[in-house]
């Protein structure tokens, strides 16, 4: 009985090792083979099956957008620092702090609008069906987070403001 038990357990261990080994090796090989860290746009090419001409047009749009995005990000970071400094002064929300928060919100909205314009331009460089899918996916990924917060704050979800 002991011998049989050892054989069965050994066979099971061998089976698990073979399966796990082949799984991890093939997964690693696949990730390494498919990942191209040098190209940030490789996802668009693979996901939306774009040809060389479409990729060239999108690359051009991307390169035009990147400096604008960097400029906006720098402005946002500066405005965020100003708002934090205004809030750190005291325990109350001062008029200056309120102003800085409003400016930060406006800047963030401008930045989001610019980002959405870029997404629309990119989607128009794709075949129509792929373009629609890209735009929906990018809106879900970039604005979906806010939608979740807003949904969680709606009365339907149980979030209520009690009047005292």
């Amino acid at each position: 009985m002991n011998r049989s038990l050892i054989i069965v357990l050994g066979a099971l261990a061998l089976g698990v090792a073979v399966f796990a080994g082949s799984y991890f090796v093939s997964q690693r090989a696949c990730v390494m083979g498919m990942t191209n860290p040098a190209d940030d746009l490789s996802w668009l090419h693979d996901e939306f099956h774009l040809n060389a001409a479409e990729m060239a047009r999108i690359r051009q749009l991307h390169e035009g957008y990147m400096p604008q995005c960097a400029k906006m990000c720098a402005l946002l970071a500066a405005k965020k620092s100003e708002a934090q400094a205004a809030l750190a002064d005291g325990t109350n929300v001062t008029a200056n702090a309120q102003k800085k928060l409003t400016e930060l919100g406006e800047l963030r909205a401008q930045c989001q609008a610019q980002m959405l314009r870029h997404f629309i331009a990119v989607s128009q460089a794709m075949p129509p069906e792929q373009g629609r899918r890209y735009l929906a996916e990018m809106q879900r990924l970039t604005l979906g987070f806010h939608e979740e917060i807003e949904k969680s704050m709606s009365p339907a979800s149980g979030h209520e403001h009690h009047q005292h």
Binding site: M1, S4, I7, Q27, M34, T35, E47, M115, T142
Partner: protein, 148 residues
């Protein structure tokens, strides 16, 4: 009716047949004679006196007294035997499985099937992971975290 050899067959052997043949014939004759001896187990040979004797012998045999708790012990032994046969059944199952796993063809087929399944699942998962990584990289470039 038992066959009784009269010895005529032995006498029927020709003297010119040679010494070896004569010996063979004499062996056959002896065997025939032995087989012709009356069998004591034959029903036809039962002697009424013997039947009486055996009946007397049976009557004279003293039946020994049963040991204490004999019946209970018998049942216990039956239960033990059933239990051990059950455990033997499970051991036999394990032995059969072990023997099956040691078949070279089956072992190679199982290893190949597991390796193939691992490769297929690993490739599928790897593709998913690579796509997620690429998507996250694109998103980090075009939509920095403060905008999301």
């Amino acid at each position: 009716m038992p066959h009784v050899n009269s010895g005529k067959e032995h006498n029927a052997i020709k003297p010119s047949a040679g010494l070896s043949r004569h010996n063979k014939a004499s062996k056959l004759w002896t065997a025939d004679k032995i087989s012709a001896a009356p069998n004591p187990m034959n029903k036809e040979n039962i002697n009424p006196a013997d039947a009486k004797l055996s009946m007397l012998l049976r009557e004279s045999r003293i039946a020994p007294a049963l040991p204490p708790r004999f019946q209970e012990n018998v049942w216990l032994r039956i239960e033990d035997a059933a239990a051990s046969s059950k455990s033997i059944g499970s051991v036999a199952w394990l032995d059969a499985l072990a023997a099956l796993m040691l078949h070279p063809r089956l072992a190679f087929a199982s290893v190949a099937a597991l390796a193939l399944a691992g490769v297929l699942l690993g490739t599928y998962q790897g593709t998913q992971v690579a796509q997620q990584d690429a998507q996250a990289r694109y998103l980090a470039v075009v939509a920095p975290n403060p905008l999301r």
